[in-house]
Every structure is written in structure tokens, then in C-alpha cells.
Amino acid sequence: MYAVETMDLTKSFEREGGKGDRIIAVDHVSLGVKEGEFFGLLGPNGAGKTTLIKILCTLIIPDEGTAKIAGHDVTKEADKVKENIGWLHGETGGRALYWRLSARDNLRFYSYLQNIPSNIADRRIDALLDFFDLTKDADRLVKDFSTGMKVRVMLARTLLPNAPVLLMDEPTVGLDAAGAIETRKLLRGLCKELGKTIVFTTHNILEAEKLCDRIAVMNKGRIIAIDTPLKLSETTRKFRGVEVRVSGPQEDALRALESMSIVKKVVKVQAEEDHTVIQLEVIDEDDAMATIPESLKSNRVKLIGIQVALPNLEEVFMSLTGEGKVEGG
């Protein structure tokens, strides 16, 4: 059984002032997220990621298809679904909190709604406040918090119910660099140590690449690719290539490499502080990996490293969607 599963899920909205004209936000989406998997939804603005997440947490009723959380249907068994999810409100800059309550009281209020026994709630709240560096500000009203602090309270609130499935919309937006790194580490830790299933949207491709076991790329309501970050890179590579890092004179290295029959052409040369990165299109990567070190050695060029050249996730995304850049959506 999947922790999160959708089958032909479809949702459209009436265009504002459109007189019956509809926008398809989610278009026959089918996916399965395994228990304990860290799953990313990546796509440009308006791709349908947030609508999909909101359907999963019962906030939006789908037009067609089914969606299940821990085996429970989001429309027919909404109460069961709610007991199995922790949801992070995305892109609000910390607005979705009660500003006239303190951080601790916001969490306590949520513990009442979640029906968590008081002694357990208190223990969890203390641990969360400590983790998110909010202990000394715990009893201040949230209205006086910075955006980053508000986002941390929201993250704490998402984790409070200890739900097996976490649905997170842009979890690190609004956090400073250190906070974002800490949060990523925590999310990864929760996924690994406690077996949480995490489905999250992000506009940060590097974040998706680092965190996710699998990524679904969405565009115009559809999932256009779904795989591990590595596989996505492999399937969208445009040429067979290797990336070579050398030190010493750049010309010597280029001359040596261009003279090799296995090298079709030099794709890119990039000078770094103390070395040069050369990307090559080759006839066969395995042969290139085996022969290039020997050839460079015989030409007295110092090799620092060699690896198969794969496009990064940004290039994958651009290749799949034809988009120039990724934004939240």
C-alpha cells in the first residue's frame, strides 16, 4: 500500500469572470508515494503543485479521480485522512498563525484540535520550541515575531501531531540560510529515523535534488516526469559525455584530449580558481573513463578528477518543460 496515492486525479476551476471558462489545475494525475519516501513536486508557477497538495489534505474537493492517504480516500474518509497528515501552509510568510496568541499557545491550541493528550503535547511542544530556537520567545505574541520565526512556529505546528505523512508546501521559504539548512536536515532526519513520508513542493531545485528520493516534475497540471533525481538527469541527457578536472596549463590538457579518437568534441571549458573543468562529448563514456587518465598522464597533464557528465536538475527541468526558470506554484 502506498502512503500517498492518486489515480487520474483532476481538478479545474472557473476562471475569474470567465463565464464558465475553466482552468485545469490538476490534469489526470496518477502517482504513488511509498512509506518513508521523501517525494518532491517540482514545477513552474501555476503547474498545479499547491492544488494537488491541497486535495491531498482535504482542503480542495477534486472533480474526478481518487486520492488516498494511508489507504483512506480524501473525499470519503476525510476524518481518517486528517488524522494521518501534518500540513504546512506554503508561501504565507507566517501569516497562517494566530498572531494574538504566543508561539506556545498557537501550538497548544493546535494540540487541542488534534486531540493530543496534554502531557504528550507539552513534551512535544517543548522539544519543538527548543529545536526551532524559540524557547526564549515561546510566550511572546506571534505578532511580534519576524517572518523567519513565524515560519519556524508553522513548521513546529506541522510536526506536532506526529502524523505519518507530512504534506509541505514550500517548507523553507521565509527561513534564513542557516534555518533552511537545519530544517532540511530535520526533514531528512524525520524521514529516515521516524519513517515519515514527506511530500513537498519547492521552487529550489538544489533542495529537491538534495532531499528527494523521487521527484515529480509538473507542468500545466500534468506530471511530465517522475523518477529519482539521478534517473531524471540520465534520461534527459542530450549527449554522452564526461567531465574532466585538471590542473596546470589549460592548452596542454585540451591538446591532449582533442587528439584522442574517443573524444568527439569539447563542449565546455571552465576555469576555476586552481583548476580547469572540461566537459567532453565522447563516443562511449566507459571507454573514455578508462583511457583519458592514461592519455593525460602520458602528456604530463595532472588529472584531479573525472566523472560521467550528467545534466543537473535545473537543466532537466528546462528540458522537460521548456521553461527558463522555476518558481513556486
Binding site: Y98, D126, A127, L190
Partner: protein
């Protein structure tokens, strides 16, 4: 290390309770906490309570007691107006508080964070009215304390008539809160319907006779007919009979008010719940559970 501590605190999967009462208590608790966070506002409200009662005391000095007596309401305009003023605060709370609250929660995004929890959304909505009820209770108690102790307002109530007044008061809350549910359901969908609730509350206050005897409307039959369509008119009439004249359920006029209000309750409560449910379902269909 913090991460280890956190993972330890969350390691055991403890069973949750299944209590609507606890969830309801949580909503009321949060509402009271939020109310107390507006300290200066609470103080200002208390001061305005005192000011309004004193104002009606002075207005009462200008009212001809004989004219009031001819309408059948004794000779104390202060007592007459106090019943209206004290309960009209509740009228406003019932009709507008929930819609205000829902509009705010939709704009702030907090409705969504509540809606994804296991609380029944109706439990949450009803709990949300607690803040308004609490403020109105402070106002009601303040009006009677200032009026009776401070300004010597006279009532002819007895235990039986006080019980009758409480029954009528509860029926007033039920019927008007049901109207408030209708308003909240509509406002949830259309987002900007608050002026309608405001107009209905203002018309209610005007036509139900908060500050003057309804007998005065005899000269304006259309207005009198409209006033009879408001539950508050009947509640106010019955409560005044009970508190000012000492009547109880044995009085046919009071019993008539109770029956009319019961009829309104039977009609309005299911309607209010149905419209609220429709509103909540509609915003989930349209994806407008938040708007910022």
C-alpha cells in the same frame, strides 16, 4: 543534538483522544486568550458599557412616564431600555461575529490550518462564537450592575419570571445564531457579504423596539409587519414582560413569544446548518479556503 532530542520526543506513536468536547474547549480557550490580548479594547468596552447605561438614564429623564405606562411597560424608561440595550449586544454578536471571524480566518489562512485537523468544522465555528458571547456577557452584566446598583433601575422580576427570561434569552440566542450561520455561509462563499449582515442586525435593532415600545409602530403598519418577522422582536417582548412586569410562562403573551421563537428555531437552525455546510463545501470546491 537538538534533532536527536526531537526525534526522541516523537519516537513513540501515542494514541490520540477522540473528544469533541476537548476540541471545543480548545477553540473557546484560544478565543478567550485572544480576547485578553486586546486589553485596552476590553477596558474601552467596559467604559462604553457604563457610558451607554448612564446615557439611557438621562434619556429616561426626558421620557414621559405616563406614555410608557400607557404602552404597558411600567414607568421606568431606564429599566425598559436596559433590557433592550443589554441583549442587543448579543444580537450583534450572534448575527455578525461568526461571519467576521470566518472572513478573518480566510484572509489570514488560519481556516485552512484548522480545516486539516480532525476537528468537526461546525464544532470550530460554534466555538468561534465564544469570544463574541463572552464580550456580550460582560456587557450584559455591566449594564444590569450599573443600571440596578448605580442608577436604581427597578424591575419586578421573581424566580419564575427570571427563569422565563432566561428561556427566552436562550431562544433568542439560538434563533439569531442560526441567522448568523446563514450569514456566515453566504459570506464564506461571496467573501464580501458583511454589509448585509450589518444591515440585518441594524434593522433588527431598530424594528424590534430596543429603545421604544413596539406599540409606537402601530402607526406604521408595514414596519410593524416587518418587525414581527424578526425573532428578536418576540424575544425582547417576552423578556421585558418577564423582567419588568414579572410575567412567567403562565402569561399567554409570554407563552406566545416562546412558541413563536420555538417555531423560528425549528425553521432556522436546520437552515443555518445547511447554508453553512453549503458554504464550506463550496469554498472547498472552488479552492477558496484562503484568499491572500
Amino acid at each position: 543534538m537538538k534533532e536527536d532530542k526531537l526525534i526522541e520526543a516523537f519516537g513513540a506513536d501515542e494514541p490520540r483522544l477522540r473528544s469533541h468536547v476537548r476540541q471545543f474547549f480548545g477553540v473557546v480557550w484560544a478565543n478567550i486568550k485572544i480576547l485578553l490580548a486586546y486589553k485596552s479594547w476590553v477596558i474601552m468596552d467596559l467604559l462604553s458599557t457604563v457610558a451607554s447605561v448612564v446615557m439611557y438614564y438621562f434619556v429616561g429623564l426626558q421620557v414621559d412616564p405616563l406614555r410608557l405606562a400607557q404602552s404597558g411597560w411600567g414607568t421606568s424608561y431606564l429599566a425598559f431600555s436596559m433590557v433592550g440595550v443589554a441583549t442587543s449586544h448579543y444580537l450583534w454578536s450572534c448575527l455578525t461575529r461568526l461571519s467576521h471571524s470566518i472572513q478573518h480566518e480566510i484572509r489570514a489562512g488560519t481556516l485552512e490550518t484548522v480545516a486539516v485537523t480532525p476537528i468537526n468544522i461546525l464544532t470550530f465555528f460554534i466555538g468561534q462564537t465564544a469570544r463574541g458571547y463572552l464580550v456580550s456577557l460582560i456587557f450584559l452584566v455591566g449594564v444590569f450592575v450599573v443600571g440596578i446598583i448605580g442608577l436604581g433601575a427597578q424591575f419586578s422580576a421573581n424566580p419564575s419570571s427570571i427563569g422565563t427570561a432566561i428561556l427566552l434569552f436562550l431562544l433568542m440566542l439560538v434563533t439569531n445564531q442560526a441567522l448568523g450561520l446563514v450569514a456566515a455561509g453566504i459570506i464564506m462563499v461571496h467573501k464580501r457579504g458583511d454589509p448585509v449582515a450589518f444591515i440585518v442586525a441594524a434593522m433588527n435593532e431598530f424594528l424590534a423596539g430596543v429603545l421604544y415600545p413596539l406599540e409606537m409602530l402601530k402607526e406604521f403598519p408595514p414596519l410593524q409587519a416587518i418587525s414581527m418577522a424578526f425573532p428578536y422582536t418576540h424575544a425582547l417582548d417576552g423578556m421585558r414582560r418577564a423582567l419588568i412586569l414579572g410575567s412567567s410562562l403562565a402569561d399567554t403573551a409570554v407563552m406566545a413569544d416562546v412558541l413563536v421563537l420555538s417555531g423560528f428555531s425549528l425553521l432556522l437552525v436546520p437552515a443555518g446548518l445547511a447554508v453553512l455546510d453549503w458554504g464550506y463545501r463550496t469554498i472547498r470546491m472552488r479552492g477558496t479556503t484562503s484568499s491572500y
